[in-house]
Structures are given as C-alpha cells and as structure tokens.
Amino acid sequence: MTSIRVVFPLIFALQIFVAVGLTGAIAYVSHMREAQDTAKEILELIGNMIDDQLYRFLSQPIDLTQVYADSLRGRPDLPLDDLLEPRLVKKLSNGVWTQAQMTRWANLSIANSAGQNLRFDRREYGKKVVKVSDIRRGGGVEWRLLENYGKGGMPLEVQEAAYDPRTEAYYRDALAKGGLVVSPIHFSPLLQGSAPVVTVAEPVYDAHGRPRAVVSSDIYLAGIGRYLQNLHLPNSSIAFLFFAEGHLIAGSRGSFPGPIAGRLPLATASSDPIIRATAGYIGERYGFLAVPDAESFRYVRGEQHNYVHTDHLLTDRQFAGLGLDWRLAVVIEESDLIENLITGIHSAAWLSLGLLVLAVAVGSWTAAGMIRPILTLGKVAAALEKDELDARHLDIRQLERDTRRRNEFGELAHVFLRMVLEVRARHDLLEAQLEQLRVNIDEADTQAKIRQIADTEFFADLKAKATRIREERKRAAEPSAQAFAEHDP
C-alpha cells in the first residue's frame, strides 16, 4: 500500500510542477520564438536596407549608361565613326562628367562598330583619364589625362594586349538585345589587375537602325565589397553576395579574397568561417545555393547560433529583366543580435524555476499539513485498535489540537475524538464488566489472613463471648417462648 503521506504531497507537487512548469515552458518557448521573430525582422530589415543601398549604388552606372545613350540619340548628327578624334572626345566628355560627377568610381565607355573604344575613367588619385583603343591600330589601350588628350605626348600607361570591344560579351549582348543589358561577370582588361566587373551596356542606333555605338559602364565588384564594408553592421555580422551557382561576389569583411586564377572563389570554400559555414548550411538546406526569395532561418555552427537572412537582389525596377541572379546573405550571431533579450528570457526562466521549486516546496508542505489530521486519525485508530491509547498519547493530543481547526478537518477530528472517547468509555465499561465477573479469590492469601485474625487471643475470646451471648439470649428467649406455648390453646 502506498501511503497517503507520499501520494498526496506527490500529486499536489506534481500538479503544481505541471501547472507552473507548463506555464513557464510555454512562456519560455513563446518568448524565445518572439526573440527569434524579432531577430528575423531585424535581419530582414538589414537585408532590405542593404538591398536598397546596393540598388542605389548599382543603379548609378545604369542611369549613367541610359542617360548618356539617350543624349547620343538626341544628337544624331554627332558623328561617332571616329571616337578617338580629340574634339569629339572633348564634347563627349562634358556629358560624362556632368552625369558622373557624384560618383568617384564612375566610368563610361563608348564603342563603335569599327572596333574603337573610348573610356572615361579616373585614376586612383582621382585624375580624369581617357582610355582609348583602336583595333585597326593594333588594339593597344593608351591611358591619357583627359585634359592633355589630343595634345600629344606620352600616354600615362599603355596596355599592349589588343582590346576589341566588339568581342566583349556586353557588346554582343547589347546589340543582340537592342536594349539595356548587364553582362556576366568578367575580368576587364581596362582595369589594372584585371578586376572582376559586370558591365551595363546599351546600344545607340542611327536613323536606319544601324548601330552607332554601344554605351557601357563597368561595375567593380571590389567596389561593391568596399561598399558593404562601409555599412555599419554589428561586429559579429557579415553580409555577402553570391551567385546561385555558388560563386562569391562580394562581402563585408575586409579580408575578402579576390579572384583566384581568373575565377571568383566559391562561397563554400571561403577563407571566412562564417561565410563558409553559412554557404555550407544553405547548400544543405536548399540544394546548392539556390535560396528562394526572402528567407530567414537560424543555424548552429559549433556552439554558435547564427541568424541568416537571404534574398534575391536587384530583381525590381531598373534591374527587372536584366537577368541578374545575385543573392544576398546577412549573417548575425544570436549573441550579438538578441543577447540582452535572451539573457532576460534566461533570467526569467531561472526565476520561474526558482519559483517552481518554491511552489513545489510550499505545495508539499501544505499538502503535508492537510493530510496530517488524516494521518493522526490513522495513528489514533491504530493505537485504539492495539489498546495502547491513553490521555497522554501524543497522537491523541495532536487530535485534540486538530479539533481547534476551523474547517472540515477540525470537524472530522472533533467527531473522531468524540468517537474515540466513546469507544474508550465503552471499552473501560466492558473491562469493568469482565472484571466484576472475574470473581477470583486467592485462597492461600485468604486463609493466611484469616489465620492471622482467628489465631489471636482476641478472636478466641470474642468467639467465646459471642457463643455465651447467644446462649444467654437463647435462654432469655426460651421462657417467653415457653410461656407463649403454655398460653397457646
């Protein structure tokens, strides 16, 4: 038999444990979910902000290209057959710097069908330069200061390798499409170190539909990287751009590596552990790196919990239909993002646990107090059964104290005590009845005491006197009796 002493407090404590524990657990899970939702919202906000900033950043070359192409269309009389002619270069440059004066890295190229290419650019120190090439003259690229162009002298730099814009993908794509295009990433020979770029290009046709020129502008991926690095992101966070096929475009970390052997590095092979781990997780989760639109999730790297927001970039407005397949991932460590929130939740959880222990302890104590009268009743009943109960018995004293309770237990104790006293009274009565029927006489003791008295002189004398007195009384009575007999007819 399992004692009520164990079962009752156990059930009581269990109920409290389940009630408080469940409430605490639900609150904990709810708060954690809320924290995670908050984290996702923050990440999404950061992602959208980056997307918006990148849009502004990348829309400038598009705007520049489109606006400049429009300006050329507005001047159909302007001959573009010889792009390298100094007066023409002067004219063309005015419009470029007007358009591009706000952007330090802005560049613009104009290529014609003769294989000439005129590029307005800046050198690293900010000086305006032109880079010119003519395939008919060998295709080498000469760098000259814009202000000195056409005045002779030695070029700033000469790039011997032949450059024919007509063979470039952007050129072909622009003419093939007959409108604005964005080229795949390629390594532009017009830049020092052959940096990876994408080129925005738009063709300009004459009245007969013949191409007059293809206007283009390069977007430096390194420039995007620098832009990302200048964003004020939390310390432990990183934002990086990548292609669905896995190549890394740019990242917000300063140590972002450049192309290796003419190719962009794979995100999964990045030297940055967070990019590598995140890309690995995305690959496992979605298959390759083809993440769907606007996705937020959380993953664990070692003991580190990271929140990730991924999204397609540049899919709307001017970039719509340009075939860009760029993805953005923003990664933030949980501790960095919602550390205070999590700490608060954990503190609340510990507090709840403490309260739970306290509630269970108080509950157990209360339950023990509630069942004590019942246990006392049991003990008193057991003692009564064994005939071991007297007024000094501890349990009966406890029972008397319990009668002072102003509740049902008090009433029960009162009734039970009355019953016990009644049983005891009956028991005592029964004992007395048995006692009065138990007429036991110790014969040996009786005889001994009788001898003590009967053997005395007093008793012998008394006996003799008693005999004499009776005889005297008998004699005294006889005459009366005799007289009575004589008078009796």
Binding site: L429, Q433, E435, Q436, L437, V439, F459
Partner: protein, 255 residues
C-alpha cells in the same frame, strides 16, 4: 425477640450506610420497629440520611459506651422520614448516631469498647423500644470493633462492590463470620455496572462464597444524586433499585 443485623463491607464507599438506611426504612414500611446503630465510629454519617443534625442529638453511642447515659437516651426517633409517604401501618425508626465530636472519636479508637457492654446495650435498647430489628452500620474492614459487631449479630449482611479487592476481602469476612458462628449471612452486591450481567453476577458470587445474594444494585446515577440527602427507597418507591431493596428487606424479615 428482635434480630440484630450487622451491615458490613470490606471496603469503604460500597454504599453501606445508604443500604442500611434504606433497608431500615423499608422494614419500617412493612410495619416493623427498627433501630439503627451507627458504629462507624471513625466516620459516622448515617444520621444525615435521616435529617438528624448533630446539634439535635445530645448523646451518641459513644456516650453510652463511656457510661454517660443510658442506651435509650442515645436513641432518637427518626420515624419522621416515613411521614408524608402515604404509608399505612408503618412501624417506627430509631437511630443511635455515632458521635461527631473528634475527641470522642479518638478516644474510642484508642481505647476500644467492651463487647459485653455493647451487647447488653443493644439488648436493653431492643427491649425498651420493643424493636423487631436492630441494624448496625459498621465501620468497613476487619478490626476488633467490626468483629465485635458481627459476633453479636443474628444476621450479617455483607455489601459487596464487584471488584477484585472487595472479592478478596469479603472472602475473609465471610470465613470469619462462619467461625464466629453467625446464624445467617447474606450478601448484597452494590454499584454493579451492566444490568444485563446481574443474573450471572449473582450466580457467580453465590457459587463463590456459598452465601445467598439478596440482590444486585446497579451503579445508579439516581441513587448517587440523592446521595446522603434522603432515603432513596421512600423517595422513589417505583424505582427498580427500590424493588431490589424491598426484596432484600423482605428476605431479611423472613430470616
């Protein structure tokens, strides 16, 4: 010739004086002339049952024993308790109380009293007052005075309370009474607990002592309440206790 009846118990508190008073009253109700002598020198008290206060009696048994008065001078007619009870042909009641004076009690206890004097006094009293029954309310226990009273009695009525101490002591008293050749010994069980056991109790006592039991009286709250204030049998003629006492009185009268 009248009968001398000693009412005795081995232990105190058996209700001896109460039974004595009630039996005396019931005998008087039967038309007998009854005397009562309180020889319980150490703790006299039967006079209270007859509403005789110590201020009202000049002499007591002690005075007779010391030669201060004649025996009849120490006897008081207490037949007044029978009045107003609608009794026809009632007899009379005469009480010789024990002295309530402490000095005299001590003197008696120290010197004892003479058996011949006591006997002659009882005889004289019975003759002078023409008593049919003289009931002696004795001191409990077995001592010289008690044995003396028993020795000169025609009937010994032992009041027994059903417990082991009384059983043992009563056995001694019964045997001493036999040796003193008391003609008739009776028992009356008082303050028995459960009325359902009375028949078994009576048989058990009779078979143990070989003495007739005149009745078994219960431990009655009614009797206890009345206590020493009145004669219970007269105040409660229809009470079952009274019936038992009446039967006992009749048996004593017939003995």
């Amino acid at each position: 010739m009248g009968k001398i009846i000693s009412v005795h118990s081995f232990r105190g508190g058996t209700g001896k004086s109460n039974v004595t008073a009630n039996l005396a009253a019931l005998l008087a109700r039967l038309g007998k002339r009854v005397g009562i002598v309180d020889t319980d020198i150490q703790s006299p008290g039967i006079h209270v049952l007859f509403n005789l206060s110590p201020e009202r009696f000049r002499y007591a048994l002690n005075d007779y024993l010391w030669g201060k008065c004649r025996i009849e001078e120490a006897a008081y007619d207490v037949s007044g308790v029978l009045e107003g009870r609608r009794l026809k042909d009632a007899g009379s009641l005469h009480l010789i109380p024990g002295s309530m004076r402490t000095g005299e009690i001590t003197r008696i206890l120290r010197d004892g009293y003479d058996v011949g004097l006591l006997n002659s006094g009882f005889q004289e009293l019975m003759e002078r007052l023409e008593l049919t029954h003289l009931l002696i309310d004795t001191h409990p226990g077995v001592n010289e005075e008690t044995l003396l009273s028993i020795a000169i009695s025609d009937i010994l009525l032992l009041i027994l309370r059903p417990d082991q101490q009384d059983y043992q002591g009563t056995a001694i008293t019964v045997e001493l009474a036999r040796q003193l050749e008391v003609e008739q010994t009776f028992m009356l069980v008082n303050k028995a607990i459960n009325p359902r056991d009375f028949t078994a109790l009576k048989q058990r006592v009779e078979s143990t002592y070989h003495v007739p039991v005149l009745g078994v009286l219960p431990l009655s709250g009614d009797v206890a309440i009345l206590g020493s204030g009145d004669i219970f049998a007269l105040a409660n003629p229809d009470h079952p206790v009274t019936s038992v006492l009446e039967a006992a009185a009749q048996r004593i009268d017939a003995a």
